[in-house]
């Protein structure tokens, strides 16, 4: 055994807005990892979307050096985690690379539903959990109440709780000390063949796929030949290093360390969760990977410009390296041409993936309304899975449709229980349980079809609770429902990409609503555009977008010419975001119109 390294690998679990990224910023500052000069807010949120939306999507890793009060030097690897329920898969990956977790809870908000889900994940991985109560500088801080909540809800000892303000920096140093004293160091195993767990990857054109990994056994250095055990592919290591969060190359990564590896890896579709070992001296058993992510929400993604299909395919391939929870397979639509049916963990995940495809790969996309996977029993008794409403067999060719149900948990202040129950019942939810978490907060549980909560449910939940409610859900299985397909005809022709599957009791209502919404979203054109909603071939609603009668710039003389030209070029750009379906130009948002309907 060589001299043990003083290493701690840990992550931060927190609900959105409870201050995880701010705390991470403070830790980076305190350890001198990032100088004040380089410091910008939310250093670890590297995607543009993350900074803009103030959320963490991708996990980020950073190595910090810290001289503790025991005068020893430690290496701390912080693996940042996303807080939103959609990104649980990313969380579970980072947890597998850690020995401990900081549980950050807002001193006035208390424990939220999603935090709970992530803490349970951490407990499954046997992580040491240190509670941290943040934002104690705020006037509404109730440290004792939140402590009690942590004890009662999560069942962990809160005597070691650290109360901090990440914003002002108060008590943040104590967090680092607690990490060193209370979290176990990684088990160092040097006398066994290399085993490293890949927890993230991304593609670079010159170095190939860059792999982020945690070395469990042995070590890896430049020039080694490595083997990815699940993929059964071999490569020669060209670079290893750690992250500050910038990549810093070193000669060797050893047992217990977290870092990156490059080996000119190309043409490997899925590395995350795989085990790296030595090609000449392979380990006998791979490490335990992750639960494969289960896509719950599906939608069609199509390039607005049909010629861009190959670009979209390449972009999806590359994005999947960085976000392995995305599923995709080719499909085609009469209205939209060639595209992909894509599976996501949730609605936010879907939005984020679409946005990343557009920004990082310069594409303009049409996304169809999200759908769940239905199990349809056909007339002959054969059961098929339907994730695209357009492919639902006709009523006389099917016996029944089953849809996925979830057990939904909502944490909400008791003032808002009424409106939230109303919301759940309006969405076909069946009440299961109501628990008082403390004197002010309630946990509601409903059995509810997944399809009902992947649309605008979360937005509604937030608006009905003034932003206080949080939710989490688990899939509980499939149940038969009375469902029908709602078709939309534009200019007399059915547009397959606008079809949705809805509950029969609401089908007429949704038909009317959808037709009205489309009328608002489809801009007036040079001719009249009729919009019809149909159920099983029967028209249930009709709206008309009237023709533009006048659209011309009155004056166009000397100085106006350049202005008018610029305006025209801008309008032309806008048109590129529209899809021509027949003669009708339909904007991107129209394909998501079903998400924007007011519920009954």
């Amino acid at each position: 055994m060589s001299k043990p390294l003083n290493i701690r690998n840990f992550c931060i679990i927190a609900h959105i807005d409870h201050g995880k990224s701010t705390l991470a910023d403070r830790l980076l500052e305190l350890t001198g990892t990032i100088s004040k000069r380089e410091m910008k807010n939310q250093v670890l949120d590297s995607l543009d979307i993350e900074r803009e939306r103030g959320i963490t999507i991708k996990l980020q890793t950073v190595r910090m050096k810290y001289s503790a009060s025991d005068n020893k030097e430690y290496i701390l690897n912080l693996i940042d985690t996303p807080g939103h329920v959609d990104f649980n898969y990313e969380v579970s990956r980072s947890l597998a690379a850690c020995e401990g977790a900081l549980l950050v809870v807002d001193a006035s908000q208390g424990v939220e539903a999603q935090t709970l889900a992530n803490v349970y994940l951490a407990m499954e991985h046997n992580l040491e959990i240190i509670p941290v109560i943040n934002k104690i500088d705020l006037p509404g801080a109730e440290v004792e109440r939140v402590k009690k909540e942590i004890e009662e809800l999560i069942g962990i000892d809160t005597s070691g709780t650290i109360c901090i303000s990440a914003k002002t920096g108060q008590n943040v140093a104590e967090v680092l000390e607690a990490v060193i004293q209370n979290m176990p160091p990684p088990k160092i195993v040097v006398d066994k063949p290399l085993r490293g767990l890949v927890f993230d990857s991304y593609f670079e054109s010159y170095r190939g796929i860059i792999v982020y990994l945690r070395i469990v056994d042995g070590s890896v250095k430049v020039g080694d030949e490595i083997l990815f055990m699940a993929n059964n592919k071999k490569f020669i290591v060209s670079e290893v290093g750690y992250l500050t969060p910038k990549q810093v190359s070193v000669n060797e990564l050893k047992s217990g360390e977290v870092g990156y590896l490059a080996a000119f890896i190309k043409d490997v579709s899925s590395l995350v969760g795989d085990t790296v070992t030595s090609a000449s001296n392979p380990a006998s058993e791979p490490l335990i990977g992750y639960r494969p992510a289960m896509p719950m929400v599906f939608c069609g993604l199509y390039p607005t410009d049909a010629d861009k299909y190959p670009e979209l395919r390449d972009a999806l391939e590359k994005l999947k390296l960085n976000d392995s929870s995305i599923h995709y397979e080719p499909e085609s639509s009469g209205a939209l041409g060639f595209g992909f049916r894509c599976g996501f963990l949730g609605l936010l995940h879907m939005e984020v993936a679409q946005e990343r495809l557009e920004r990082e790969y310069g594409l303009t996309l049409i996304a169809t309304a999200p759908s769940v996977v239905y199990k349809v029993t056909k007339a002959g008794g054969e059961v098929i899975e339907v994730d695209n409403p357009a492919t639902l067999p006709d009523p006389n060719h099917r016996e029944k449709i089953e849809e996925p149900f979830v057990l939904l948990h909502i944490f909400v202040p008791n003032d808002f229980v009424g409106p939230i129950m109303e919301l759940c019942q309006g969405r076909r939810g069946v009440f299961k349980d109501m628990k008082y978490l403390d004197s002010k907060r309630v946990q509601l549980s409903y059995e509810i079809p997944l399809a009902e909560i992947i649309t605008d449910f979360f937005d509604n939940l937030k608006s009905r609770s003034k932003g206080y409610a949080s939710m989490d859900y688990d899939l509980i299985g499939y149940k038969e429902s009375k469902l029908a397909k709602l078709d939309i005809l534009i200019g007399g022709d059915p547009v397959d990409a606008l079809s949705t599957i809805v509950h029969t009791d609401k089908a007429h209502y949704y038909g009317r609503q959808l037709a009205q919404k489309l009328k608002e979203l489809i801009p007036r054109q040079m001719f009249e555009v009729p919009i019809q909603a149909a159920i099983g071939g029967k028209i249930v609603a009709r709206e008309t977008v009237s023709a533009i009668r006048k659209n011309v710039l009155a004056k166009c003389y000397g100085g106006d010419i350049t202005r008018k030209k610029k305006l025209l070029e801008k309008q032309k750009e806008g048109k590129k975001r529209m899809k021509n379906v027949g003669k009708v130009e339909i904007p991107q948002e129209a394909f998501m119109a079903v998400l924007k309907l007011e519920s009954e």
């Binding site: 009155a554 166009c556 010419i561 025209l568």
Partner: protein, 387 residues
């Protein structure tokens, strides 16, 4: 670099007004008449130095020996009719040093009712001005008041009579529709009233709320947009106008312009045919040697350095501009032009044109198209399909 001038038109900007209309976003100022003389000094200086430069550039390449013949001159504003013929005499003699200006040159001057002086008008006529454009806008007192015009309908009539007495036969009347408070009847009445004076040309614009004008503040920022007239209703005004003028023997030759046969504005056609032109004066834009340049919009700055110009657009996407401009005319243009500005292939263009023709927006022959009246109304939409 090869320097080639093809321009045969000149624009002159006169930025002075008695009062500033609240919808106007042109470079024009009230109560600055004390600067008129200085302004003309600057204007003459600009003409002299720029023309010397043009001359030397042309000589270098083409050894041009004779003066360039000018076919149209447009003196716009502002209110050019505020300025005395003596100053214009200086202007013309400066221009004639560099350009050949014959009797068949179309020379237009803009005039605002309330500023018409018989002595001035006679002076302009003697200098060669042969076309007057009158900013009548409306013959309804209420509408004139809403527009913030400081003249009455009677003053407009008086101005028209004066120019006729002076001997001008070729004149244009500017009219505005879609004015808040305007009914269809008020509009039609103004159109017929205009026709009573037998103008050779009518320009009719819908009111546009321009950014930075007092009207923007009144109608957009105060959320008082209810008072504004919707585009659908503006269509009604426009379509009435087209009907009446057609019946009275006018040709609808450009989106907003109507003329008796042979009286189309030759000057404005140079713009709409994407031809090059000279321009002088504050805020003036020119198009020469494939480049669009513009002067400062600041009057005092112009007076102190009249030669300063900035590039507005270069290199120019000529075909894009050309289709944008010629599609404003009722005259036909080549289908080839579409191929030059779009990524669509020949077959796709044909299908598109067939659709547009079936819907009555264009008329299509073998290799030429022209917009119908229905098409001119939605010129912008058609353009967006063609480019």
């Amino acid at each position: 670099m090869n320097y080639t001038i093809t321009a045969e038109s000149i624009y002159i900007h006169i930025p002075f007004c008695k009062t500033k209309c609240p919808y106007c976003d042109f470079a024009s100022w009230a109560n600055k008449e004390n600067l008129i003389e200085q302004y003309f000094d600057a204007l003459l200086f600009e003409i002299r130095t720029k023309c010397e430069a043009y001359k030397s550039l042309e000589l270098r390449d083409k050894n041009r020996k004779v003066k360039r013949t000018i076919k149209t001159i447009f003196i716009g504003g502002g209110t050019p009719s505020l300025v005395s013929p003596e100053l214009y005499e200086k202007l013309f003699s400066e221009l004639k040093k560099y350009f050949e200006i014959n009797n068949d040159c179309e020379i237009t001057m803009e005039l605002n009712p309330g500023t018409a002086r018989e002595d001035y008008l006679l002076g302009y006529k003697n200098l060669g001005v042969n076309r007057i454009s009158i900013g009548a806008q409306s013959f309804n007192e209420k509408i004139l008041e809403t527009l913030g015009r400081k003249h009455s309908a009677d003053e407009t009539i008086d101005a028209i009579n004066k120019i006729k007495l002076t001997g001008f036969t070729n004149f244009n009347l500017d009219l505005i529709f879609s004015v808040p408070g305007m009914t269809k009847d008020i509009w039609i009445e103004s159109v017929y009233k205009a026709l009573d004076f037998a103008p050779k040309h009518i320009s009719a614009y819908s009111l546009i709320i321009e950014p930075g004008t007092p009207f923007e503040h009144i109608y957009k920022q105060n959320k008082n947009s209810k008072a504004l007239i919707e585009d659908d209703f503006a269509f009604e005004f426009y379509s009435e106008l087209c009907k009446i003028l057609k019946q009275s023997g006018f040709i609808h030759y450009e989106v907003s312009n109507f003329a008796k046969p042979g009286y189309e504005s030759k000057h404005n056609l140079t713009y709409w045919l994407a031809k090059e032109y000279f321009a002088f004066g504050v805020s003036a834009h020119r198009y020469l040697n494939g480049m669009r340049t513009g002067n400062t919009k600041n009057l005092e700055m112009y007076i102190s350095s009249p030669n300063h110009e900035t590039i507005i657009d270069y290199p120019i996407n000529y075909n894009f501009e050309k289709i944008m401009l010629v599609s404003r005319l009722s005259n036909e243009f080549d289908v080839d032009l579409i191929e030059k500005v779009t990524t669509k292939n020949r077959g796709e263009i044909r299908n598109l044109l067939k659709d547009l023709s079936n819907e009555g927006f264009i008329e299509l022959s073998r290799d030429k198209i022209h917009l119908t009246e229905k098409g001119l109304f939605v010129n912008n939409e058609i353009l967006l399909k063609l480019i």
